[in-house]
Symmetry: C2
Amino acid sequence: MAGGRAIGVDLGATNARAAVVDRSTGAIVAASKEPHVDRSPQAVVEGVARAVREVARAAAVDLGAVGCVGVGVAGQCLGATGLVMNAPNLGWRDVPLGSLLERSLSTPVRVVNDLSAAAWGEQRFGAARGIDDVVLVFVGSGVGSGLILGGRLHEGAWGVGGELGHVKVRPLRPGTRPRRCGCGMTGCLEAYTSGVNVAARVREELAAGAASAVRELVQGDLSRVSASAVDAAFEQGDGYARELWEEVGELLGTTIANVVTLLNPTRVILGGGVLLGAPHLEAIVRRVLSQQVSASAAKQLSVERAHLGDDAGVIGAALL
Amino acid sequence: MAGGRAIGVDLGATNARAAVVDRSTGAIVAASKEPHVDRSPQAVVEGVARAVREVARAAAVDLGAVGCVGVGVAGQCLGATGLVMNAPNLGWRDVPLGSLLERSLSTPVRVVNDLSAAAWGEQRFGAARGIDDVVLVFVGSGVGSGLILGGRLHEGAWGVGGELGHVKVRPLRPGTRPRRCGCGMTGCLEAYTSGVNVAARVREELAAGAASAVRELVQGDLSRVSASAVDAAFEQGDGYARELWEEVGELLGTTIANVVTLLNPTRVILGGGVLLGAPHLEAIVRRVLSQQVSASAAKQLSVERAHLGDDAGVIGAALL
């Protein structure tokens, strides 16, 4: 096992991050980042391979002895085959990432959804250490989840499980205009609650004349609208922000409660820039979750913030 | 393994059914039914033990050699401990069924939720033979589910997973009066879609003067209102039945779609008297499910009706 060390990769929209991780402590021993030259599979695979070779060299790890390199990707991955079916941030469809990378590195590669990897990292060395039933909920630019059930990562029959952002919800206010999701459907949780979609909605509503302290907070520059600006307006008692956060928090809290009622985990982990960067929204999500979850599933449940931040994915990918 | 035979029990509201099941074919070799004298844990345990001893004798199975007796109960069960936390049909709270029955039978006992048992039975010898990721959805007097994920029964960390009836939904029509669920909460799927609750709602609305062919179909006797009467009215083109089924079917279909989007099973099994006894409702549920499920999770999904009927639970309990 190469001295108890493993190699993981977090493949993001703008760069690939590789790390050598100590198997017994979860510590990152060496890390390397390669920005994508372009997003073609060839260029990205070359960048990933470079980053992997660099961290292996830096930590004096023999790639041939490491067993398997884990790669977390923001997208739908058929885990068993290494195929990335759909990675919108990279503009990829049906890219055989696993086999391309195996050829380049001459090492087995395991491809996994980035939130599955993050859930695994948090379960091994973060906010759910040693807990067998864990739901990681991520609300950042997108919305998703990673599921650990009975001590095992649940990726679904075809590796596309955990798509919390695409469960269908009905918004609180009857007048709310249906928003189309990036996936092409309407009614998706992500369309109402992700950072990108919330910011777009606030921009539209401010442009249409809505009165809110958000406008002053971004000094009239609507391109600067963000979840944290809405949270700051909420803090000031702004009515628009309050109503928006009640709606977004109700949708997120109820959906998470339903997942808990269905799966009966003992730990929910909240992660992602929107949830962790907007404390007032987080408080509403926690309140609604505790109100809406079934009494029996609520009994042994605790809700924690993610501990490992951006490192969760690369640590989890390494240790899978 | 006692000649490849196992013993299962289906513990219902009015009786206990025990069966000897052939492990290699799933066939019921001998069966016995004991009506409850009363619903006290003592009386029920005695009845179960009698039924078990009777089938064992009838099939010439040595109870001591059978390994473990499986018992499916309509209620929340802490599987590992044999504790029945809450079984509304029996009026039980915190009954240590497992240990009571083990003492009475001098044999290990495994207590499990009845829909988990049914899912296992269908997976072994019914509508999902050999499929590793299965969601059984049951809509009868109550609403619930049984989950098989990665080839294993998923009962949740404390055995209260699968409670599909208690996920929270928002009804279609803004004017719909919130209905309180048997669990004490409002907004539960079961409160809007179970046989008992649908019948209660139709009775109330007919009593309040709603015009519907259901009234003639039950010959004015509102106590005879049922899901199949609504389905018969739908068949005749009745507007009230049509609107009601659209609402109930939309709630059920969307919720099932969300479970599929989250868990990525390859088979959904529809069971229970309401779904299987109301073909027009079933058709709407299937249509909404296919419309609302994420495209990626829909790809390899098939939806089947339960095959084993009332035997699924006792077969699954035996084979767990």
